[in-house]
Symmetry: C2
Subunit: 499 residues, 2 copies
């Protein structure tokens, strides 16, 4: 039987998906165990795979099939229609950007990232400035191109790439609310916590034991080791698909809590990927619904679940047994205090869950201005320090603890930072709905039973893949759109009211 344009399109996107799954493995390998001298060759391999994907999406045949499939979309199922919509998104990204711009941007970012490492080490923004200027110039060109197709502002076009449908309007509404209320919450939380400071833990814990604990907890949460792994790398990350999913964490013998929280964060990402609709595995509609939803899953597991009294009640005995330790410092109550300590600082990556969004706010405001052409790269350090002082009360002591601390901008990721803040807020909303729908969920977690939690997420988030917009997905799951009030309620309950 002759295949329909839609069916032929599905085959092409299946090839793209398999090629992308290969890039996941190549990237994982590069971070975890590739010999250092193989980096250039690895870049060549990744570039070729990217070129092959783009070639499929840019071919005339694909464009013709897209048009035919869209013309007869009425005869397709709901999932198929959503798939055509997502195909169009992928098609647009591959087709709008001229090859010249893609290549220039890739080269500029590769160079800027290398220079950033040195600039960061030497705390010298001037080293990076000319390279970052080049990146910004090309990102702005890309943003203008995308904005003309998507009929939105250039910065909104960048936001859309990481979180489809995300807009400055929504972000301004959400983040201004946080900017107004968080400083007060932070101050009160610090005062409250100062009455019961946690016992510091200085016992060194071997990496092997930390990994054993991680694997034990991951198994309890349902991580499928038959199709996944836990390894070590410089920064925690998740790479792969439900067919081969690999998470990493960093392990420091003197700070097991960071490694553990890294594992929970990445396990949140992994459970989402494992739970995506298997029957749509190879299709765009079967992928995740963007980076806000993905970060939301990670933060929900790390922050709301992992940094909870219930989770610590379950995990403290496991920690004691696997690490071979005991005493008051290792009891659930103290581990909870350690994991929820509010401590404003200069570094985003070390921030607690209350101060975290303020770090994002700074980056959001500045990158919006940069993309709009209202802030020059050379003026970035002064603008950063000024705004940091307003929000945190202090100037960063140097650029490495200021605007040089993240590699996102040198890597060209403008529009990415806001996904962290929206992820935090969405996580609080989901957490409220889960507790309402499954009132016993935290008691079960205290007993090491995560079924209620993940069943709810599976039914309300995971299995929908990219079928709905992020806003619609959230509405169906919680009955409301993005709402910072839930997050503020969650913080108040956890940090100001509870004992």
């Amino acid at each position: 039987m002759k295949q329909t344009p839609y069916q032929l399109l599905e085959k092409r996107f299946e090839r793209v998906q398999v090629l992308k799954s290969i890039t996941h493995l190549l990237r994982w390998d590069a971070e975890v165990l590739m010999p250092p001298g193989s980096a250039d060759h690895r870049a060549q391999q990744l570039t070729l795979l990217d070129t092959e994907c783009t070639a499929i999406l840019r071919s005339k045949k694909t464009s013709r099939l897209m048009q035919h499939a869209e013309a007869s979309v009425a005869g397709l199922s709901g999932w198929q229609q959503a798939n055509v919509r997502e195909m169009r998104r992928h098609w647009q990204v591959a087709n709008i950007m001229p090859k010249r711009l893609t290549n220039s941007l890739h080269r500029a970012c590769t160079k800027a990232e290398v220079v950033w490492r040195r600039a960061h080490q030497e705390k010298n923004f001037r080293l990076l400035a000319p390279h970052l200027e080049k990146v910004v110039e090309l990102v702005r060109e890309k943003a203008h191109l995308l904005s003309s197709i998507l009929s939105c502002t250039p910065y909104d076009a960048l936001l859309d790439e990481y979180d489809p449908g995300n807009t400055t309007a929504e972000l301004d509404f959400v983040l201004q609310r946080l900017a107004a209320e968080l400083p007060g919450i932070i101050q009160h939380a610090i005062e409250k916590q100062s009455a019961f400071p946690p016992i510091e833990i200085h016992t060194p814990i071997s990496k092997r034991k930390q990994k054993d604990l991680g694997r034990f907890l991951m198994k309890r949460m349902g991580f499928q080791f038959n199709k996944g792994r836990l390894d070590e790398s410089l920064h925690p990350f998740t790479e792969g698909t439900a067919e081969d999913l690999r998470i990493t964490s960093m392990f420091s013998e003197h700070d097991f809590m960071s490694g553990l929280m890294g594992i929970l964060h990445e396990t949140g990402h992994a459970m989402y990927d494992f739970g995506l609709p298997a029957e749509w595995f190879f299709q765009p509609v079967g992928r995740d619904r963007g980076m806000v939803v993905h970060e939301c899953q990670a933060l929900l597991l790390e922050m709301a679940v992992g940094r909870s009294r219930a989770f610590m009640r379950f995990s403290a005995p496991c920690v004691q047994k696997i690490f071979g330790v005991n005493g008051k410092a290792w009891e659930a109550d103290n581990l909870y205090r350690l994991a929820t300590r509010v401590h404003p600082g200069f570094i985003r990556m070390d921030a607690d869950e209350v101060t975290y969004p303020l770090h994002i706010l700074i980056r959001y405001e500045l990158e919006k201005k940069i993309v709009a052409g209202n802030l020059r790269v050379r003026d970035l350090p002064a603008a950063w320090n000024e705004r940091f002082k307003q929000l945190f009360g202090e100037f960063p002591p140097d650029a490495a603890q200021g605007c040089l601390q993240d590699s996102h901008w040198p890597q060209g990721y403008f529009g990415y930072f806001p996904t962290y803040a929206l992820g935090v807020i969405m996580a609080a909303q989901l957490f409220a709905s889960i507790r309402q729908a499954q009132p016993g969920v935290m008691d079960e977690i205290a007993e090491g039973n995560f079924a209620a939690l993940f069943n709810w997420l599976e039914a309300n988030i995971y299995r929908h893949g990219a079928r709905y917009s992020r806003t619609e997905l959230l509405r169906q799951a919680t009955g409301e759109t993005l709402n910072p009030a839930r997050y503020l309620d969650y913080l108040r309950e956890k940090y100001l009211e509870e004992n």
Copy 2:
């Protein structure tokens, strides 16, 4: 400036080479650390990469460019001309086989290999027979197709795939000579060795220490860890290219010698890959000169160098230090006796360097008959046992120690076994030439200095890539063609004359 057909062809083959380098990593990962449930998805990834390579080679554009380049070959350099010849080889393999046949063969082999594992475990050839029959049927179809293009017999066409230019005529000449002389050498060697049996070693050695020893020796030999790794797998193998080369060995706590010899064998493969001409890295002419030359490099390092008194003089103190052992059993003389013990047995993989070629002889005779249609699959076990009895004096006790012991045939590798035997012979010839050209080479190795050895190999073998035929390469390096007499001389000197 407009590019010539030859230059455009080079670009296409560069893409093929990068895609192939990705398959190396995927295969390495599958054997070393892939989660077990990801096997089907990995097969899908490998199939897609293979399809992409074949599509490049089967495109009309490539065929046209091939013709144009061949028409103007006179204007090219010697290397370029050789490259065009090798391109044609790759092009032929991709273009002769109809897709249907490639796919059927791939499916049949995948299935037969799975069944082989069970049949091997249950020592039951009947389980495998129908699946092996299917494989044989398709291999014969492939052989006939290839033979019509190459103008040779079907079996010679299969030989050519693994070792370009290899023929039954040469193999018959070589192997008949070995069949006539080896049994006598084996008998004398056993008698001679029985007067000085080695001290058995039963001390368990941790895998970590065995890897430490392996890495130490590899570094001394010049293995570039900046672009390579050593890991553990079920069977030793080498995968990758000079840009990212990964070898594995198997490590048993009660048999460090197997693991060490595995490392030397794979390091021999690796040094060849590292030494191939870098300026031709992406082109067919820059690859190795087939499996005989590759096995020759591995066997030269494992057998002639590794199982020598000189190597044991150097490595015994390293072994003692890294393993933390001492005593007579760990001295050079005893390690040498252990590594050179002649012990006829049923299993090829466990064979010593003297009996090894007889194992190959059996397989060569039988597979030649199978491909010619003169031996039915169902009659294979009887034919195997009969021939084994003639050569070794005993019947194998069961099929797992008989014709079920290797996975090559179920995997469709007919014509591959002979490369092992020719590799052994070529290694003896190279070894004789090295010792003649560099009379101090073994004394230097006894001091841990491998420069003379590898410099000679680099100059005479590695750097030529696939520029010359295997026969011409050997002739340039040693002044003669394949000559079993050198191998027999080598064995007589080592096993019958030396003390």
